[in-house]
Amino acid sequence: MRLPLLVSAGVLLVALLPCPPCRALLSRGPGPGAREAPQSPQPLDFFQPPPPPPQSEQPQQPQPRPVLLRMGEEYFLRLGNLNKSPAAPLSPASSLLASGSRPSPDQAAANFFRVLLQQLLLPRRSLDSPAGVAERGADSALGGHQEAPERERRSEEPPISLDLTFHLLREVLEMARAEQLAQQAHSNRKLMEIIGK
């Protein structure tokens, strides 16, 4: 009689003991179900700070950080005039994707991106816009110079972004999905060939 009571009490204690909060991200190191090869480098997730720099570089390392912390504004790197609708030249490329075979989606995708880049890069006068001025500033500042004036200029430059419409984003996403499905079909075909041996 006492033994079942003690066992029940023990289970109750275990069930109600406070456990560490569940975290969606794993810390460095293999988790309970991880199957990563031990020799592969453990990925550093974004929660972890960068590893401490070597002692010799430490005096220089903190210098960019306070400059970057002052960056509070955002802009987007204008790649071109997006007022032009790329819908017309894109539709043949999209229809080519319907064939489903592996070579043509790649060619269609290459055509799509070539046209897209042409559309984005055509009007160079967009560099006269304030974003363009900032971009030119980014070009000079990202030359890798470590002098203080360059770092000060960099402190005024907002993070890099991409100027892309939702319509184009969906187009490239759908092409990526088509590529994924084609690759899955290819894997399935190879699997069936292996099974059939």
């Binding site: 009689m1 079942p4 009571l5 066992v7 029940s8 289970v11 109750l12 069930a15 909060p21 569940c22 975290r23 969606a24 991200l25 309970p32 991880a34 199957r35 480098p41 453990q42 990925p43 550093l44 997730d45 974004f46 929660f47 960068p50 590893p51 912390l69 960056m71 955002e74 802009y75 987007f76 790649l79 790649d106 995708a109 290459a110 991106f113 890069l121 990202l142 030359g143 890798g144 907002p158 993070p159 890099i160 972004s161 991409l162 100027d163 939702f166 984003l169 969906r170 490239v172 996403l173 092409m175 990526a176 999905r177 590529e179 690759q183 190879k190 699997l191 292996i194 099974i195 041996k197």
Partner: protein, 322 residues
């Protein structure tokens, strides 16, 4: 009922309750150990395991939704390039530098961004991401190969790169890892179903659908404590407590989108809403005191639905964006 039998029943009940929180771990463990080919011979399994990873050339502007190895080699100066990576909502994206040959001193750069950023708008937003914006950029020219593998905090990431010298470039390997409790995610498809669970975490989580969509919420649980229903569930709304909000907007950043509906009380049963905006977001705000869960389905709005709204729909705000 004899006291012994009662005790055994209580024991079984307690055991079941204790295990309930672990089932998600067990699911993942089982998935990790799952052998899809149990009847195959060792020879066949070796042949399958020896399959080369998917490889192709990376383009200056690209989107990738599958794992593999991708190489970019500049055939001419490429000054404005970016590549988007997206996985399943229940996955983390990991970017591994296999080979990088760029001239940082000459103005080249290669940066990984934790999330997506478009027209200056970020996903996840600054409010929903644990890191400040500057730390979400990992610059290869600053960190080098000390951070050779970079795992994003969600299922989306992107890189920006600039290469002046033809012949220079880099090779990346993209992998995905399972995410036990996905918090921020972008859907790859305009149709689907998802359950957002935030267990005792003080964080805000967003699920983004970059299409005009109909959201059908089938279950909302707020304020449960280890599976036991609280008599007084968490009362959110008004920006306080735990709640779910539906957002619509023309940009990527949920913090800049218009809240269209607040769901503050748990309920079961479908509740549907049409959102005719470029981007539709289901966002859960959690205090960390409870386990919150919302299950919803979504499908893309048809063109005829966009033209003639009826029922529970809010489109006036987003019509101007079309």
């Amino acid at each position: 009922m004899s006291p012994n039998f009662k005790l055994q029943c209580h024991f079984i009940l307690i055991f079941l309750v204790a295990l309930r929180g672990e089932t998600r771990y067990l699911e993942l463990r089982e998935a990790a150990d799952y052998d899809p080919f149990p009847l195959f011979s060792a020879h066949l399994k070796r042949e399958l395991a020896g399959e080369q990873p998917y490889r192709r050339a990376l383009r200056c502007l690209d989107m990738l939704s599958l794992q593999g190895q991708f190489t970019f080699t500049a055939d001419r100066p490429q000054l404005h390039c970016a590549a988007f990576f997206i996985g399943e909502p229940e996955e983390f994206i990991t970017i591994h530098y296999d080979l990088v040959s760029i001239d940082c001193q000459g103005g080249d750069f290669l940066k990984v961004f934790d999330g997506w950023i478009l027209k200056g708008e970020k996903f996840p937003s600054s409010q929903d991401h644990p890191l400040p914006t500057t730390e979400r950029y990992i610059d290869f020219c600053q960190s080098g190969l000390s951070r050779r593998s970079i795992r994003a905090s969600q299922n989306v990431a992107m890189i920006f790169f600039r290469i002046h010298e033809p012949g220079n470039g880099f090779t990346l390997t993209i992998k995905t890892d399972p995410n036990l409790f996905p918090c921020n995610a972008i859907s790859q498809t305009p149709n689907g179903r998802f359950t957002l669970v935030v267990p005792h975490q003080h964080r805000n989580c967003s699920f983004s659908i970059i299409y005009p969509a109909v959201i059908k919420i089938s279950d909302l649980t707020l304020g449960h404590l280890n599976g036991l229903q609280l008599k007084k569930p968490s009362v959110g709304c008004g920006g306080v407590g735990d709640f779910v909000e539906l957002l619509g907007g023309a940009g990527l950043d949920p913090s800049k989108m218009m809240p269209l509906a607040d769901l503050c009380y748990p309920f079961h049963g479908p509740a549907q809403m049409k959102i005719g905006c470029d981007n539709t977001v289901v966002r859960m705000v959690s205090s960390g005191k409870h386990i919150n869960r919302v299950t919803f389905e979504y499908r893309q709005l048809e063109p005829y639905e966009l033209e003639s709204p009826n029922g529970n729909s809010i489109q006036e705000f987003c019509l101007s964006s079309f």
